[in-house]
């Protein structure tokens, strides 16, 4: 190595020094240059209309449909194409067994237990988005639910199990990404119209973005206890009428359970 240096001319030495300096400079600045520009924060704030004006009312084929005729309105407000691809969840044997024995009066909604994702977002009511620096608040008319999406990098712990789980989020590609885990078992936690439960392993990933005057979201559910693969739907909200304020739901236990008497008993 030293012999090689001795053979370099003064000009080559100078060139080497300049090259090393340039390389050092590039290396010094590389981490900064490689960083993505700070993620743009989309304006999602406001009161949003998720009623039948925005999308079809939920039911056995909405938002999860095995097949749809051409032209049927999808949850995102667009018409289904000729080659509609089913988004109905692929259930494992455990889920099918639960579905088989499911008894409608068991459904927690008859006792005013709140709806949870992936159904809560799609229930035909208004909801409000509030964006704070360290969190996003998702407030729903349906069942008076408030979800907090933490943006501060926290990780859920075993103390965070709850009916709405724990939500963490980030802004990415002009969208808000929300990941929710730590749900508790719910006998209709995936879908009450088709009697599909969800487990404590349910993970719901939501991507919210603005599409002109609309708010859109893709809701994806993973639950290895019941689903063979993730299932998802994309929905939209319309801007609420100016000045609209969310109404309190105040689920009434008497009104909620009254129709159970009309269901022919399945078990004694």
């Amino acid at each position: 190595m030293s012999g090689t240096i001795r053979r370099l001319s003064p000009q080559r030495c100078l060139g080497l020094v300049v090259s090393v300096a340039l390389l050092a400079a590039v290396h010094w600045h590389a981490p900064i240059a490689a960083q993505a520009p700070r993620a743009a924060i989309p304006d999602l704030a406001g009161v949003w209309d998720g009623t039948r004006r925005a999308h079809p009312i939920n039911g056995p084929n909405v938002p999860w449909a095995k097949s749809l005729p051409e032209g049927a309105i999808l949850p995102d407000g667009t018409p289904a194409g000729k080659d509609y691809v089913s988004n109905f969840p692929v259930l494992n044997e455990r889920a099918l067994a639960f579905q088989k024995i499911f008894d409608e009066p068991l459904s927690p909604k008859y006792d005013c237990q709140p709806s949870t994702p992936p159904a809560l977002e799609f229930d035909p009511f208004y909801m409000e988005v509030v964006q704070w620096p360290d969190r996003v608040l998702l407030r729903y008319e349906k069942d008076d639910q408030l979800r907090t999406v933490w943006l501060d990098g926290r990780e859920p712990t075993s103390h965070d199990y709850g009916i709405q789980g724990l939500s963490v989020g980030r802004y990415e590609s002009n969208a808000l990404i929300v990941e929710t885990t730590h749900y508790v078992f719910d006998v209709t936690g995936f879908d009450d119209y088709n009697g599909i439960p969800s487990s404590q392993q349910k993970k719901v990933t939501e991507r919210y973005w603005r599409d002109g005057e609309h708010l859109k979201a893709t809701v994806t559910v993973e639950d290895p206890m019941f689903l063979r693969k993730p299932a998802s739907y994309t929905m939209r909200w319309l801007a609420a009428p100016k000045g609209y304020k969310l109404q309190s739901f105040e689920c009434d236990a008497e009104a909620a359970r009254l129709s159970v008497q009309f269901i022919p008993p399945r078990y004694k």
Binding site: I57, N58, G59, P60, N61, K66, Q99, K100, F102, E104, S107, K109, C112, D123, P124, D192, Y193, N194, G195, Q247, F249, E250, C251, D252, E254, A255, A256, L258, S259, V260, Q261, F262, I263, P264, P265
Partner: protein, 135 residues
């Protein structure tokens, strides 16, 4: 008051179509409690209103085919969609109702209801007629 049950041929045909279209394992809350392939007609006087969430209820005093007193329990939409009923269905008003009958034997429930006065004049906004409330 007379409460009668009429099932048309058309509704039975519609039943077949609907049954064929419905998933075998469906547990639609309304379908579990009500037979959406049938229609029932009832008459009675409004005895009570429950304007609530998740669903509102209208109660009618009526009679069955044998003249025995019964109470019709009519499931409607949530409170926001029922503001019209406070004035539109006063207690004591005589009304006719058509809708889907409840499934359990011996019960007198209706959903997807359309209300009319005794002379047949519709009651309530068009948007509130015939809807099966979702829960």
């Amino acid at each position: 008051m007379i409460a009668g049950l009429r099932i048309s041929v058309a509704s039975l045909l519609a039943a077949g179509v609907l049954l064929a279209a419905m998933p075998a394992a469906a547990h639609h809350s309304a379908a579990a409690a009500y037979d959406e392939t049938k229609r029932v007609e009832a008459q009675g006087t409004v005895s009570k209103l429950l304007i609530r969430n998740p669903h509102s209820w209208v109660f009618l005093d009526g009679t069955d085919d044998k003249g025995q007193k019964i109470e019709w329990q009519i499931e409607m939409g949530g409170a926001p969609s029922m503001a019209w009923a406070k004035d539109g269905l006063p207690i004591g008003m005589a009304v006719k109702v058509t809708g889907h009958p409840s499934r359990a034997p011996g019960t007198y429930g209706i959903t997807g209801a359309t209300f009319a006065k005794k002379d047949g004049t519709p009651i309530g906004p068009r948007s509130a007629r015939g809807d099966t409330p979702q829960q």
